[in-house]
Symmetry: none
Subunit: 144 residues, 4 copies
């Protein structure tokens, strides 16, 4: 099951509204459960370098069914996943990527946000993800 | 001058409406005048392989200030630009990419569409581009 | 607004003069506000490996509107942007890249320098950037 | 032996003058005998897509000690080098790339030009190459 364009748009709109509230300029990407881009939105004034980071955060989240921040805690020097960023044509492992999961634990995609502090990026991604999915992630979301 | 998100969205909405009218499922990409992604929209049911093609059509158009179809006429075997597709991390040179140019000849970006026949792809891109820019392209659009 | 070739050349000449003064051999790259190469200059005797580093420093700076050294302080292990170098086909986050910004805060491009110590690289980049733009950078330079 | 920055600059200046005479906007790249970028110059108004093409034409020429047009004649469908563009991270095999060779047949680099018709691209590259090297190329230029 993949996120629909209707839901992807709803998530982007919720994320955009949060970004405006925080007075930030964001890149917002939504990918489906296969990691393929569904929708993308770059606010005027957002950093050009954030295009790829938003996209990679969304892919990283859906690739492992975790927030990017969770993976980042495991990929520090000495950690069990140190260097994982070298896989999959490049991952981003700091906050701002969140899986989109329904109430049954099924993952239909992910959202990635970049353009401000990682706290703001995460808050904007959360506004998007929670507008169409669960806010509490299961330990291992599944795909169909 | 770069295309604004307001105009990018307007172009995507016009393209989407045309795609529905033609009973097709399209990927629609808008890039700014530097070739960087501004907005992207994948209709439900569109081919996953069209994501990259739509994106590359938009980039190809803005890179040379021409429609992708015009470049494709020059890049056939024996033609003057044969093999140009090997540059710029891959170009797409069949129809579906159109520069976004204002009445003064200034290019602010481009739109790329993929998902159906090249005739349909071009028609959908044209609906998008003409909703926010000129329909007649100058010989050499310029950037600021 | 993109840096002109006249200004790009002026910046390279100022950077070159500083490099000679420091008795170093440098690669000097200037990109426009879309991150696309405008001009490049490799002094005789400069490291071949510095070609790509100078180019990536310039791109990194314009992608985020910051000096590469500022980004590097945020991307250390345990820092908020740890691993950002894996995005955008590779970033360089040590000193030597500086945005080119005018007195109004508008960013027209960036300069990247590589070939010596990071202190020298930064000093040479600063000589180039300040010859055509502001020396004090705003918190969030903008593009048009 | 590699082209010096003094000679690379002389070649770019001669090429630029020819481009102005032809009323064109060109990207001009000079690589050394190892195929590594020595100098690059993008005239205002030149196509962004020509940056990579100029660079790849210069590399293609020095990689095989031939003009890009000569290689293009061999890489057409049915020709002996069909598909050679897939090697070396992408080659460009239409006119506009010329080796820089001295009177003894030693090759120190190459120049690549892109931005107009292939006839104009070749004429501008020739103006550059002949300002610092031989106009008649030997069958197999050599490197030291």
């Amino acid at each position: 099951m993949h996120v629909t364009i209707e839901d992807a748009h709803k998530a982007i709109e919720a994320a955009r509204a949060k970004a405006v509230e925080l007075d930030t300029q964001m890149c917002i990407a939504v990918v489906d459960s296969g990691g393929n881009l569904k929708a993308f939105y770059r606010m005027d004034g957002a950093w050009v370098g954030s295009i790829d980071i938003a996209h990679k955060k969304a892919k990283t989240s859906v690739f492992f069914g975790m927030t990017t921040g969770q993976i980042g805690q495991l990929s520090q020097p000495g950690g069990p996943l140190y260097g994982i960023e070298h896989s999959n044509d490049g991952l981003i492992t700091f906050p701002g990527g969140i899986p989109i999961v329904d109430a049954d634990g099924e993952m239909s995609g992910a959202i990635g946000v970049s353009g401000s502090t990682v706290e703001n990026d995460h808050a904007v991604a959360l506004a998007g993800a929670s507008s169409i999915g669960a806010t509490e992630l299961p330990a291992h979301p599944w795909r169909t």
